[in-house]
């Protein structure tokens, strides 16, 4: 058929998804695992229910476990409600699923996978487009990537069809391992084919930071060192390590939360306005923030950070054991369950403004938020008449729970005297938009199917984030037990963290 093909789909204009997913097959490595059945398959099915999957679509699961096709389908039904499984939509969705049992290091498994993908292309019209999802332990990443390359299962540049790969965190456990992994990945996949997933960026409230900053003209003029005193970013959990002790022992709070999620959030708060809302423009600006974070020496690192472990205590009225007494945790473990940092972003916008980050398990309350504290008034007009202490203005972006935005300001208490009370002006997602927000995986998988990498981490930003964190990890490793603080489970955090911020005559927000 001879044709002048329209560059974009003219029928897409005006529809919710301006850019939609092309026909493709999603190949899930590690498909028998928890992530696939808890998150990936439910998210993909939810997209199917919302008509957000492409017109031709299939899923191939691959893992070591021996399973029949029926057993595989049965296992994937576990986290989908009974009612939804009875619909013809699930039946049609399930008809597009298949399973291959193979060892990831066995080339014959990839041959069988390639044959299966060719068959599906022929039968379902998936047009030779592939999305590989690595839902395996990180130790298997290199092998799978190498084998995919060796089996020529990756579309090259200039190809009419596309291949993408999604890699779950952790992206390495230090700078060297992250760099080595990236070298291996980019040896087979070009960077624009790689989607490093950080589910935190799929959260509505995290994305709202971009909207809040760049869709509202009133905040930008005060979003800088002239008006901002400091920024606090908090991710506090009441949970302990639960069933993740084996992973957590090798990770700790810094690798688990700060190196990825919290630095990504900090980037969104601190970055310059991007030239466009496209993947590279946004990620360029985020990476510039990481590069502007003041580097510290291994010696200085202790001065700007705190690490701690929780002791026995009470959380929500229930007694909980100390970290070292948790199941599968080394009784002499040095893994930090709490960490706090003071960073400086050395650029024109933020010079001299500290960014305090803290994250911990078994704390008093579950809170994820960004608090921007503004400078006080230059002249205390009410000093003579008011007995009140003048609090600074504070803008709090609440990520979870009670997702929303709070602005704190002073108001006159009604009466003859000039008393000031601090009041909050609240915006809550739950009350202004009573709609259910989509699961982070749904959003991110949909973006990935559409080829939109805006919310995924790029190689340079992953490596830059490791560079920021490495001096701290190195100094903690060198100082062993020394400087490992303790805090009671259910508390606000260790006293050392209070001292870190108190040294600057500031204090943490109460959880």
């Amino acid at each position: 058929m001879t044709s002048t093909m329209p560059l974009t789909n003219p029928l897409r204009e005006g529809l919710l998804a301006e850019r939609s997913a092309e026909p493709c097959i999603v190949v899930i490595f590690g498909a028998s695992g928890d992530l696939a059945k808890r998150k990936l398959i439910p998210a993909l099915f939810s997209l199917a229910e919302q008509q957000l999957l492409p017109s031709a679509f299939a899923i191939v699961g691959i893992s070591r476990r021996n399973m029949t096709h029926e057993e595989f389908c049965q296992s994937q039904r576990e986290f989908i409600e009974e009612e939804r499984l009875k619909t013809p939509v699930w039946k049609s969705f399930e008809e597009g699923m298949s399973y291959i049992s193979a060892d990831f290091s066995d080339p014959s498994g990839y041959k069988r996978l390639a044959d299966e993908l060719t068959r599906i292309d022929r039968d379902r019209g998936t047009l030779n487009n592939r999305l590989y999802y690595l839902s395996t332990p990180p130790g298997a990443y290199s092998e799978i990537i190498r084998q995919l390359g060796a089996a020529r299962m990756v579309a090259g540049k200039g190809s009419k069809n596309w291949t993408r790969i999604v890699i779950e965190k952790p992206f390495g456990r230090d700078f060297d391992s992250a760099h080595a992994l990236n070298e291996e990945v980019n040896g087979v996949f070009s960077e624009d084919q790689v989607y490093r997933i950080d589910h935190y960026l799929g959260k509505e409230t995290v994305q709202n930071i971009i909207v809040f900053r760049f869709a509202n003209g009133i905040f930008e003029p005060i979003w800088n060192r002239r008006y901002v005193d400091h920024v606090q970013i908090t991710v506090a959990e009441t949970l302990g390590v639960e069933h993740r002790a084996a992973y957590y022992e090798t990770s700790g709070a810094t690798r688990d939360m700060v190196q990825n999620h919290m630095l990504q959030v900090m980037n969104l708060v601190a970055m310059e306005p991007p030239a466009a809302l496209d993947a590279d423009a946004l990620r360029d600006e985020k990476t510039k923030v990481l590069r502007a974070i003041r580097p510290v020496s291994v010696e200085e690192a202790l001065k700007y950070s705190v690490r701690a472990q929780y002791n026995r205590g009470f959380v929500a009225g229930r007694e909980v054991p100390a970290y070292r007494q948790e199941e599968n945790v080394n009784p002499e473990s040095l893994t930090e369950t709490y960490c706090a940092f003071k960073f400086f972003v050395d650029n024109w916008r933020w010079a001299g403004v500290p960014f305090y980050l803290r994250s911990g398990k078994r704390l008093a309350k579950r809170v994820s938020e960004v608090a921007i504290q503004f400078k006080g008034v230059p002249h205390l007009l009410f000093g003579q008449t008011a007995n009140d202490h003048l609090e600074p203005n504070m803008l709090v972006l609440k990520i979870q729970p009670d997702e929303g935005i709070t602005l704190r300001f002073g108001a006159k208490l009604p009466g003859q005297s000039m008393h000031i009370r601090w009041v909050n002006m609240d915006f809550r997602y739950g009350t202004s938009f009573g709609v259910k927000t989509p699961e982070a995986y749904e959003r991110l998988l949909h973006d990935c199917l559409r080829g939109d990498a805006t919310l995924f981490a790029r190689r340079d930003s992953v490596e830059a984030a490791w560079k920021v964190i490495m001096p701290y990890l190195t100094s903690w490793q060198e100082s062993k037990e020394k400087n490992l603080a303790q805090y009671e489970a259910g508390a606000q955090g260790p006293a050392e963290a209070d001292a870190l911020i108190a040294a600057d005559k500031r204090k943490w927000r109460r959880l």
């Binding site: 093909m5 204009e13 199917a48 008509q51 047009l127 009419k160 009350t431 202004s432």
Partner: protein
């Protein structure tokens, strides 16, 4: 009635009759009292908070639908907190007068949060007082919040009320599915949109119902390799369910669907034929002059069919060798999509086809601001289609 009793009545969703001149004052008193106590939980001391992100004016002509609309507003306020003003115009009925009531819709978004309340003002005008409705409503709108008018009346295009409020109205919500005669009403709607485009935008509930059909059609051509077929469309067929259409003739959505496709692909109308209930339009691609036939016809009568539209098919290439088809079957909540190439088995899949209730449809309209250019283009093309059809 004491102020405490009034508060109890209103916050529990019951209407409280008020003097028109004192509506704002009554509302102020109400919220002042409500801020001091929690009506839903006697043991709790959490106060009630009022919230609004828009003004919603609902225009009715039938008092028997007031209760249903009030219930719909109660549901709408969960997602779209607003000040609702329900206007019932009883033209030519009773002694000229306007009565007013206030009530509230309260919800607790989560067990630990405050009770969030929205207010409703209801106005009922009889006789010649109907003319005073617009000037009564305008001062009741909350300044700086957008104004949506949900039209549930007849004679939209001659409405004095709508004309009176159009200066402050940001968005008019109507349902072209209810048009008695698409041949007359689409051209009038097109003219209405054009002449008021600098003042207000129009939302059409029927357009939202068509969204799933448009989305599925667009999906066929997302892959660049299939997109080339858009330049080779030979025939478009819309089948409708004759039994579901209340009056005789073609349902308005069928014109709107063809209008959308034709406007997006820049087709021009050459002529039309009518044969019984079938309309056949002859069109031409503007760039190459390629002829295209668009046919709107009744589907074979099958008892399991539901809704107005039954199928939509796009055939491309010589002898319609490739067909892209969306068809409803026995299950009203599903449709089957199919891509059929000559000499190959078709690719099929079943997808959900959501049936929206009225509240869901209106809720989606309240999320949209500004003009929907794609809709306006589709209306202009649908209007051109029916005008051609009328003139032959």
């Amino acid at each position: 009635m004491s102020s405490q009793n009034s508060l109890d009545v209103v916050l529990k969703g019951q209407p409280l009759e008020v003097d028109i001149a004192a509506i704002e004052e009554q509302l102020r008193e109400l919220w002042k009292g409500a801020a001091q106590e929690d009506i839903h939980d006697e043991e709790s001391t959490r106060p009630v908070a009022r919230t609004s992100v828009l003004n919603l004016v609902v225009y009715l002509e039938d008092p028997s639908s007031e209760q249903r609309i009030t219930e719909a507003i109660s549901e709408l306020t969960m997602e779209n907190p607003c000040r609702a003003i329900v206007v019932t115009a009883l033209q030519g009925q009773g002694v000229s007068s306007i009565e007013a009531w206030i009530s509230a819709h309260c919800h607790r978004p989560s067990p630990t949060s405050k009770v969030m309340c929205c207010e409703q003002v209801s106005l009922r005008a009889c006789g010649t007082s109907v003319r005073e409705l617009a000037p009564t409503v305008v001062p009741l709108l909350i300044s700086d919040l957008p104004v949506f008018v949900w039209w549930k009346g007849s004679r939209l295009f001659e409405s004095e009320f709508l004309e009176g409020i159009s200066d402050v109205c940001d968005r008019l919500i109507l349902d072209s599915k209810s048009f008695d005669s698409p041949e007359v009403d689409f051209p009038r709607l097109e003219e209405y949109i054009q002449t008021r485009s600098d003042r207000l935008a129009v939302s059409d509930v029927a357009w939202h119902r068509l969204k799933q059909w448009r989305e599925l059609t667009a999906q066929f051509f997302d892959a660049p390799v299939l997109r080339a077929h858009l330049n080779h469309i030979e025939k478009v067929t819309v089948e409708f369910n004759e039994r579901a259409v209340q009056r005789s003739g073609v349902p308005p959505q069928a014109f709107l669907l063809v209008g959308w496709l034709a406007s997006r692909l820049h087709w021009e109308i050459i002529g039309t034929e009518t044969q019984d209930a079938t309309r056949r339009f002859h069109l031409r691609a503007r760039d190459g002059g390629r002829p295209i036939t668009a046919e709107i016809c009744p589907a074979d009568a099958r008892p399991e069919l539901s809704g107005h539209l039954v199928s939509f098919e796009i055939a491309t290439g010589e002898d319609w060798a490739t067909a892209f088809r969306i068809a409803k079957g026995g299950n009203p909540n599903c449709a089957q999509t199919e891509i059929a190439f000559a000499h190959l088995p078709p690719y099929r899949r079943v997808i959900p086809l959501r049936i929206y209730n009225e509240v869901e449809l209106i809720a989606r309209q309240l999320e949209v601001f500004g003009h929907d250019r794609i809709y306006e283009d589709a209306i202009a093309m649908a209007s051109a289609l029916v005008k051609t059809s009328r003139s032959t």
